[in-house]
Amino acid sequence: AQSVAQPEDQVNVAEGNPLTVKCTYSVSGNPYLFWYVQYPNRGLQFLLKYITGDNLVKGSYGFEAEFNKSQTSFHLKKPSALVSDSALYFCAVRVVDTGRRALTFGSGTRLQVQP
């Protein structure tokens, strides 16, 4: 079975400060990992993914994420937060080389950026 944990329900950060949204995963095998963002009453928007190779992945809107195999983590980061980054963020995982094509999502972390 595969699972994703987002240990923080909410993260608060001041505008201009760096932000980190945490994600850990549990899979049997090698993972594909994804981050999505959701604004109120909207669908999820894809931010970035890790497949293989470089552990630091860069994505949309200045976000990046670092894959750490030993810690089974895939934390989302941004060097300087914007008020417009305030939203709900989801981490997701899928196991490589299985017939299951669906993603397993974490419970979400609400990011609040204060001006």
């Binding site: 594909y32 994804f34 999505y36 109120p40 009453n41 909207r42 669908g43 999820l44 928007q45 894809f46 993914k49 497949i51 709900l88 989801f90 899928r94 490589v96 080389d97 299985t98 017939g99 094509r101 669906a102 993603l103 397993t104 999502f105 974490g106 419970s107 979400g108």
Partner: protein, 114 residues
């Protein structure tokens, strides 16, 4: 470019009434299609996914069903809605093989069962 549509955007239905939500994708062929439900603005629950016409996999036993009558059309249905069916329903698509492909989501349907 690819586009995914869902309708209606909002729906209020009484308990015991039928349901039909529709999702269509443009700009790609033979996509994988997915239905999710999101309760209380939080976690996503995968309901169904489909890898081809007429091929539906159910993730959670419930009073909902899904059908894929055409390559780029995915329908979520119920014969009799329950109060617990209220939620935000999201359709998604991804490229149709085993590759490391991200899913792209539609705008969602807000269903309130009264």
């Amino acid at each position: 470019s690819q586009t995914i549509h869902q309708w209606p955007a909002t729906l209020v239905q009484p308990v015991g009434s039928p349901l039909s939500l529709e999702c269509t994708v443009e700009g790609t062929s033979n996509p994988n299609l997915y239905w999710y439900r999101q309760a209380a603005g939080r976690g996503l629950q995968l309901l169904f996914y489909s890898v081809g016409i007429g091929q539906i996999s159910s993730e959670v036993p419930q009073n909902l069903s899904a059908s894929r009558p055409q390559d780029r059309q995915f329908i979520l249905s119920s014969k009799k809605l329950l109060l617990s069916d209220s939620g935000f329903y999201l359709c998604a698509w991804s490229l149709g093989d085993r590759g490391p492909y991200e899913q792209y989501f539609g705008p969602g349907t807000r269903l309130t069962v009264t």
